[in-house]
Symmetry: C2
Subunit: 312 residues, 2 copies
C-alpha cells in the first residue's frame, strides 16, 4: 500500500456531566485525510475545508495531523515518512474535537499505511500527544471516541486507561454550533477548583448512569441522566442565550441538552426522529433571537470511529 484515505469523526467531549471522563463519536461531521508514503519526514501538501476557514497551518509541527503522524512514525520505529492532504469536515473551535479528529485521522492513516502494527487503542497515545501540543492539556475525551467510535470512558490519563463502553443505536443527537468564539483555555480557567460534596455525588451518579446507558444500548437511561451541575453552570455563561436555548429545546421535546466539550456547540438528545427537526428549529431560532447565527446537524452515534475509505 502506497496511499490511503481515511476519516475520523467529530466528537462530543464530556457528554454533559462526565467532565474529562466521557466522549462520544458522531456521524456526518468529521475529517478526511489522504496519506502517501514518502522516503522521509512528514509534510502536509494541502489543507482543504468544506466548513469554512481553511486557515490551519501546513507546518507539520503546528497542525495536529502532522504532529500525530510524526508521533506515530516514532512509535512504529519506521524510518520512512508520509505526505498528508487534510480535508476538514467539521467546524473548528466549536467544541467538537476538530483538532482531535485531524490527529486521529493521521495516527490511524500512518498505522494502516505501514501494515497496522498498533491497535486502535494504542493509537490513542500518539493522537493525544498531538492534541496536547496544541491544547496544552493531555485529555483523551475527543481522541479516544474519534478512534474507537461509540462512547468512551477515560479512567486515567496517566497511565492512559480508556475503555470503549458502547453505543446507543436509537439515540438522535441535535448539534447546534452558534457563531461564538469560546477559547478552550478560557473555558478551562473558569472551572471551579473544588466541588461541593452534593454536586460531586450528583454528577458522579448521572455520569455513571450515562455509562450504563451506553453499556446497555438503552436510551431510556440516557434520557434522564444528561444533567451537569458542576461545569455547565460556569461554562454556559460563555454561550449567549444558553439558558433559553436549553429551555426551548426541552419544550420542543428534547430529553436533555448540554455543552459539547468546552463549547460553543450545544447538543440535545431524543430518540424520536420526527421530534428532532422541531428541537433543531427551536434551538437555532432561539440563538437567532439573541442575534447569533448558527450551524446545525441532526446526527447519531458513529459506532466505528476512524476508518479506511480507500487504499491504493
Amino acid at each position: 500500500m502506497e496511499y490511503i484515505q481515511v476519516s475520523a469523526p467529530a466528537t462530543i467531549g464530556n457528554i454533559g456531566p462526565g467532565f474529562d471522563v466521557l466522549g462520544l463519536a458522531i456521524r456526518h461531521w468529521g475529517d478526511r485525510l489522504e496519506a502517501r508514503k514518502t522516503d522521509q519526514g512528514v509534510s502536509i501538501a494541502a489543507v482543504n475545508s468544506t466548513v469554512g476557514g481553511s486557515e490551519l497551518s501546513k507546518d507539520p509541527d503546528k497542525n495536529t495531523a502532522g504532529i500525530a503522524a510524526k508521533q506515530t512514525l516514532k512509535l512504529l520505529g519506521i524510518d520512512q515518512g508520509v505526505e498528508l492532504v487534510l480535508h476538514k469536515g467539521l467546524p473548528m473551535g466549536s467544541g467538537l474535537g476538530s483538532s482531535a479528529a485531524s490527529a486521529v485521522a493521521a495516527a490511524f492513516a500512518v498505522n494502516e499505511l505501514y501494515d497496522r502494527p498498533l491497535t486502535k487503542e494504542e493509537l490513542i497515545l500518539p493522537a493525544t500527544l498531538a492534541e496536547e501540543k496544541v491544547s496544552g492539556g493531555f485529555f483523551a475525551d475527543n481522541t479516544a471516541p474519534a478512534l474507537l467510535g461509540g462512547a468512551t470512558l477515560t479512567r486515567s490519563c496517566m497511565p492512559l486507561d480508556v475503555t470503549r463502553i458502547g453505543c446507543i443505536e436509537n439515540l438522535i443527537v441535535i448539534l447546534v454550533t452558534p457563531d461564538i468564539v469560546v477559547l478552550t483555555r478560557e473555558a478551562r480557567e473558569l472551572l471551579p477548583k473544588t466541588v461541593p460534596m452534593e454536586d460531586f455525588i450528583f454528577n458522579m451518579a448521572n455520569t455513571s448512569l450515562i455509562t450504563a446507558a451506553f453499556s446497555k444500548n438503552d436510551y431510556s437511561l440516557f434520557a434522564r441522566s444528561l444533567n451537569d451541575v458542576v461545569v455547565e453552570p460556569v461554562r454556559s455563561k460563555l454561550i449567549a442565550g444558553f439558558d433559553e436555548v436549553k429551555k426551548n429545546a426541552l419544550k420542543a421535546g428534547a430529553d436533555g441538552m448540554a455543552i459539547s466539550g468546552s463549547g460553543p456547540t450545544v447538543f440535545a438528545i431524543t430518540d424520536t426522529p420526527k421530534r428532532a427537526r422541531f428541537i433543531e428549529d427551536a434551538m437555532v431560532r432561539t440563538f437567532a433571537l439573541h442575534g447569533i447565527r448558527s450551524m446545525s446537524l441532526i446526527t447519531e452515534v458513529d459506532p466505528e470511529g476512524a476508518r479506511v475509505i480507500e487504499t491504493q
Copy 2:
C-alpha cells in the same frame, strides 16, 4: 397465602468510589424473615440472631423491619396486619446494610403476602423510608441492591431513581469485619464538605468504570477501578490497621480493597478462587497484628436480592 418466609442479602454500599451512588448485594450473609397475616397492625414476635447479639428492639416502631412493614401496608392501602419473626444473619453495625436487609425483607414479605401489588422497584421507597427513621438519612445504596440483587445505581433520591445495572458472575468478594465500632453518623460527619476538582474527576471516572464493569459482566474493568480518593482517606482513619490490611490484601493478589459502606467491614476483590483464601488470611492476620479480632467471608454477588423461601 397466610404465611411467608423470605430472605434479603447483605449489601456493600458505595462499592469504593461510588459514594451514595452504587450498592452491591452479596451471597451467604443476610436476614431471613417470617411474616404471618393478622387482622390489624404490625408486631414483631421475635428477633433471633445467628451472628451474635440479638439486642434489636421488638418494638415495630424502632426496628426497620417493623417500620418497613407499616410503610408497605400503608402504601398498599390494606387494612390488615402482619406478625413478624426476624432472623438476623449478618453482623449489625458492620457497614453491610444490616438494617436495610431487615427493612427490605419486611417490605418484600408484606407485598408478597398481600398478592404482590407492587414491583420490587416500588418497594425501594417504603424500605428506604424505614432506613431513614433509624439512620437519619434517606439513602438507597443498601436497600436497592438488597431488593433488586446485583449492583444498583442510585441516580437520585428525590425523586427516587434507581437502576439495577447488573452482575459480575466471576467476581469473588472477600469480606472482613473487624471488631471495631464505627457509627454511621460519625462516619458521615467526617466527610469533606467540598472535593478538589481532580479528585472529583478521579472518583467519577472510577465509579463510571465500575458501572460499565457490572453492566457488561466484565471483571477486568472492575479489577482496575476500585479506587477512591474522596471518602476512603478520611473514613479509613476510623479503622485501625486499614492501610496495612489493604497493602497486604493487594500483596496477596487482590485487585483492590475498599470500605463497605461506612465500615468497619472492608472488602477485597479477585476473580481467582484459589487466591481468595490467601487474601482473606492476609487481611484477617493483619487485623490480628493490630490486636483486632475479625469475622470473614468469601462470597460472590447475589444476583437476585430479596426472595421467597417458603409460603403456606
